[in-house]
């Protein structure tokens, strides 16, 4: 299996790492869209109730894991919704362990018990990423529209007790950005090894709530400074990732590290997507494993996965841009949702002819009238309303359903 041993082959240089070959390295299994939390910033599709029926069976998930692993998938995220609402996560985890995945359960912590943790450990789950929202009970419970603050603290302790790395994910928005220093102190106090400070990206529910969630540039600058100070103080004890919000950047993000380059998402109902929000794009048909689509064909050949792979699809100003390899023109979904042209430059880019849309959104977030509008929480009732075509005025500014 390895090339070591008695043969006298010259040893290759040991001085550097090498680039990864494009393969679906990361498999994200969005096993359910059901969720006990109702977070205002959720990126799930606003009409998710349409996809909560016909969830894949345990056997179907196991065959997804096997097929993807053969194609070279290595990192597995088990996400949702709240994955723990399914009672077969133990089986999925155990299969992932047998196949040699590096597996991660992405959870709110609701439904995590000692018994399940013990099973996950036995099955070979590598880590658990727990979402945390704030140091205050009030903001935690408000933004998730649930009473989950005490539960999250308890679950964090349990994860640690089982010898798992403590990986916290904190979605940052206007309501918690001023508490970032305290949030990091809390993370350190509960023994966090990794903390991801994920500034809200505006897709799904968070796009509908954008004016209410977006922090100001001043708040963001301060938050970054607080993070850097904290980083310097704790050193290697805690690794902190600060995900910069693209609305305040001059150039767009290299979305999903390129369309169909690294990530493959299989959703609850078996639809295979190159990114979470791809369903919002027009004239696209995404393969579904229920209809017999193989992952191999989907990844390598399906029109949906090849459409925006590489840069052949690009128009100006991206096509001749010296930075096009760096960001691949940004996010297709964001571009379509905001401008109505999926092939244009991401409006986040200051070179986009539609950049004013972003500047306006930043202004809107400062407008007290818009910012004080009620938040639309992610729940079945609201999702049904949206799917039925009610709440038109909320959806109207966008070129498809967020």
């Amino acid at each position: 299996m390895t090339n070591t041993g008695s043969n006298a082959k010259p040893m290759p240089s040991a001085d550097a790492t090498v680039k990864l070959i494009p393969k679906p390295f990361w498999l994200l299994a969005e096993v359910t869209y059901r969720c006990p939390l109702h977070c205002a910033f959720c990126y799930n599709p606003t009409d998710y109730v349409e996809h909560t029926q016909n969830e894949l069976s345990t056997e179907q998930w196991i065959s997804v894991l096997r097929e993807a692993r053969k194609m070279g998938a290595l990192q597995l995220g088990i996400s949702g919704g709240e994955p723990l609402l399914r009672d077969d996560i133990e089986e999925i985890v155990a299969e992932a362990g047998r196949l040699g995945y590096y597996s991660n359960l992405i959870t709110s912590g609701v439904g995590l018990t000692e018994k399940r943790l013990a099973e996950f450990k036995r099955g070979g789950l590598d880590h658990i990423q727990l979402s945390m929202h704030d140091i205050t009970k009030e903001i935690n419970n408000f933004i998730t529209d649930t009473n989950t603050f005490d539960l999250k603290k308890k679950v964090a302790g349990m994860i640690k007790d089982y010898g798992y790395p403590m990986v916290l994910n904190v979605v940052i928005h206007r309501y918690n950005i001023e508490h970032l220093g305290e949030i990091l102190e809390m993370a350190d106090a509960i023994g966090a090894d990794y903390v991801e400070l994920a500034n809200t990206q505006y897709y799904g529910w968070s796009l509908l709530n954008r004016s209410q969630l977006m922090p100001t540039r001043e708040q963001l600058v301060k938050a970054e400074a607080v993070t850097n100070e904290f980083r310097a103080r704790v050193g290697s004890r805690m690794k902190i990732y600060f995900v910069v919000p693209d609305y305040y950047a001059d150039r767009p993000k290299k979305c999903m590290n390129g369309w169909g380059e690294v990530f493959m998402i299989v959703t609850a109902d078996g639809t295979v997507l190159p990114c979470h929000s791809a369903r919002s794009l027009p004239n696209m048909e995404f393969p579904n494993i229920r209809n017999g689509a193989s992952l191999e064909w989907t990844w390598n050949e399906s029109p949906a996965f090849t459409k925006y792979r590489g840069d052949d699809w690009m128009k100006e100003p991206c096509r001749s841009c010296p930075e096009k390899e760096k960001d691949l023109g940004g996010c297709r979904c964001q571009t379509f949702l905001l401008t109505g042209d999926a092939e244009g430059a991401d409006p986040v880019c200051s070179l986009s002819p539609h950049h004013d849309i972003i500047l306006q959104a930043i202004e809107d977030a400062k407008n007290p009238l818009l910012a004080s509008q009620p938040i639309l929480f992610r729940n079945d009732k609201n999702s049904k309303l949206i799917a039925e075509g009610a709440l038109k005025e909320l959806v109207a500014p966008f070129h498809s359903l967020p």
Binding site: K9, P12, D15, V18, L74, K239
Partner: protein, 96 residues
């Protein structure tokens, strides 16, 4: 920020890191929360031997035997260990 790697040092993988051979990559990878690194052949040969018991000096001897034609192998190994230590992929298990 890195302190000098010494021949009597003993290293192991950092906590929570996993190291494995990936057939699809035809190489070794390091896996950790939020990321992964593909190691080139030489780096893989070094990390594979970090078992928390062998000293750096013993690993150098082993690799010299396994790859007698490799030039400058000792410098390469020390450079690799320094990089891996700076990036927190590996940690000292005991201090001699």
């Amino acid at each position: 920020m890195s302190d000098k790697i010494r021949s009597e040092d003993v290293f192991g993988l950092a906590r929570f890191y996993r190291f494995q051979w990936e057939e699809a990559q035809n190489g070794y990878v390091l896996l950790f929360p939020e990321g992964m690194v593909k190691l080139n052949g030489g780096a893989g040969e070094v990390v594979k031997r970090l078992d928390g018991a062998k000293t750096v000096g013993q690993i150098v001897d082993e690799l010299k035997q396994a790859f007698p034609d490799a030039l400058e192998i000792e410098n390469d190994i020390y450079a690799m260990l320094e990089l891996a230590h700076d990036k927190y992929w590996i940690e000292r298990k005991t201090n001699a």
